[in-house]
Symmetry: C2
Subunit: 338 residues, 2 copies
């Protein structure tokens, strides 16, 4: 069995997460038991939710155990199989974690899924045709429930979720406005991802200024908002919501690294009769087939071409992850392992 490099959580962050929270170790992959397969990971997905799991406090996710390999989504190839349903060479998506190889009990429902790479690149199953894509789909379709002609806004617009959100929202006939950090991301959002407009939040020092920019970009107000960041951005969008607006709360990355960021004016929820709903896509597995079908078709037909930020090699994962928390990535953040 091959030697396996892994990145473990060595200690928990105090405030901001840092590289020394992680530790690179080398182990041997164990011999396969019946029902198991050995997967060589081609790509590892880095996602904001992982920051929450690094804390030991009450959160929606079970805390990442210390001294264990960091969890995370992976795509790869079956190298050995003691499971009739998987052959050597099969391309698979799973939760292999921050390591080069994983041994998976493929008899466990949902542990591993075979994917077709004829029209969809393997890495897309960690992005547009994976968890981030379904996240965008669930928030838009099941919580926001958009109507043609309405205005939709998404923060972290050029990320994996934001990219998919744009394609799904435009396909439903909505004006779609992004919020992203920096002129390059905003240009890309409009020119490549199909956003009608994109606001650079870095040009705005406070929520009032950002709110004014939103007013220009959303002349009919905002009917649906997909929240990835929290803080000042949430305050600004909340001030532009129309009556009966819907906010799908998927992430509050701005507050992940330190003290909770308050919501300045919650009475707007009442004044504008808003629905604000948090969700975690892994709790809604029933929608995945429908969502993946739409997303897969969009990728295969070129209607959704999401950008990827690819870090090279497992040892690059911690810095890439810390950069993701600061918005340094541009598109879906992956680590290439092969």
């Amino acid at each position: 069995m091959p030697t396996n490099q892994q990145i473990q959580l060595d200690n928990r962050p105090v405030g901001e997460a840092v590289a020394s929270n992680f530790k690179l170790v080398t182990t041997e992959t164990p011999a396969l038991q019946d029902g198991q397969v050995l997967v060589r990971h081609h790509f590892l997905s880095l996602d904001p939710y992982m920051r929450g799991r690094m804390n030991d406090s009450k959160s929606y996710a079970v805390p990442q155990a210390l001294g264990q390999t960091m969890g995370g989504g992976t795509v790869g190839e079956v190298m050995e199989s003691k499971n009739d349903k998987y052959d050597v060479g099969d391309k698979v998506v799973g939760m292999g974690g921050w390591q080069q190889y994983s041994v998976v009990d493929a008899t466990v429902l949902g542990a591993l899924r075979k994917v077709d790479t004829t029209h969809v690149p393997l890495s897309a199953y960690l992005g547009a045709v994976g968890m981030p894509g379904v996240t965008a789909w669930y928030g838009l379709v099941k919580i926001i429930e958009p109507k043609a002609g309405e205005t939709m806004v998404v923060s972290a617009a050029t990320g994996a979720v934001g990219s998919a959100f744009a394609a799904l929202s435009k396909a439903r006939g909505c004006r779609t406005v992004g919020i992203a950090g920096g002129p390059d991301k905003c240009k890309y959002a409009v020119e490549e991802l199909g956003f009608d407009a994109c606001i650079d939040y870095k040009l705005h020092k406070d929520a009032n200024s950002l709110s004014a920019a939103l007013k220009d970009a959303c002349p009919n107000g905002v009917d649906g908002y997909f929240e990835n960041v929290g803080g000042m951005v949430l305050d600004a969008v909340l001030s532009r919501m129309n009556a009966f607006g819907r906010i799908a709360v998927c992430g509050m990355i701005a507050g992940y690294n330190g003290a909770p960021l308050p919501l300045t004016y919650p009475a707007l929820i009442l004044m504008n009769r808003l629905k604000v709903q948090g969700f975690i896509v892994s709790e809604h597995m029933e929608v995945w087939p429908e969502a993946l079908k739409e997303l897969g078709t969009m990728v295969a037909t070129g209607k959704l071409r999401a950008r990827e930020s690819i870090a090279q090699g497992l040892e690059a994962a911690p810095e890439a992850f810390l950069g993701l928390l600061k918005g340094k990535n541009f598109g879906k953040q992956l680590v290439k392992l092969v």
Copy 2:
């Protein structure tokens, strides 16, 4: 036609509302046109939403015009009628405003409604069997959607909405916990209104302390919360919400008189996958018949015996209203005009 005392909005509050914002005037009631009726008001309803209308800023309610009679719900008796559907002596509920008499065009849908006082006292149509009761019903039944065995919490527990909420929630088999100000209200909530427990928020100097008290009163956490007050109370309850909890936002009275009160930890909406939804009951007229039927039966059969705070005479209305905003009332705040 009779002489009519009215209270007008004379000027808008700067910060806290004060008695000098109002002005008492005397006018003559005009002669009736075809379709109109003259109503003598027996009771005027005072409600927190009126404070929002005193401002000129963007709100869900159209601002109260200066130099006009304050709007508000009334119950009374038809004194003269030029409308075939109304006879002298009929008991009616309407939006007569802060005055002794109103001339109502009863041909306008919803302007006036005849009520039966055989089993339900006239004043109850401004409380348990009126807008506050339907407000409790809508928030509980349509937003919170309680299941038997769950735990429900309501703030301003002994007010008109809170009283109705308790009866409706208990009828659905839920543990029902109130939050109110002072030992008398808390005792009344448990002994008369049927709450399983009631927490005196005045004993707690901050949200952490109130949250600890909630933990004791809600050993299984909180599944549904009906929000009337905002501020520290909302922060505290939010910290006790179970996964997939629902919060119906009906009022944020704590912030009505001054600067907006922030929500300290909005990320809990995500962590616990909460739904937080604002509503105004007047936008959901379709539920009123079903809600009023349940509420009327509860009052007629003694299952809901809501307390009233009754101020005497129109001139007492401003002080009673300002007291309501500070929680000085005990139960539904009314002004008796006859």
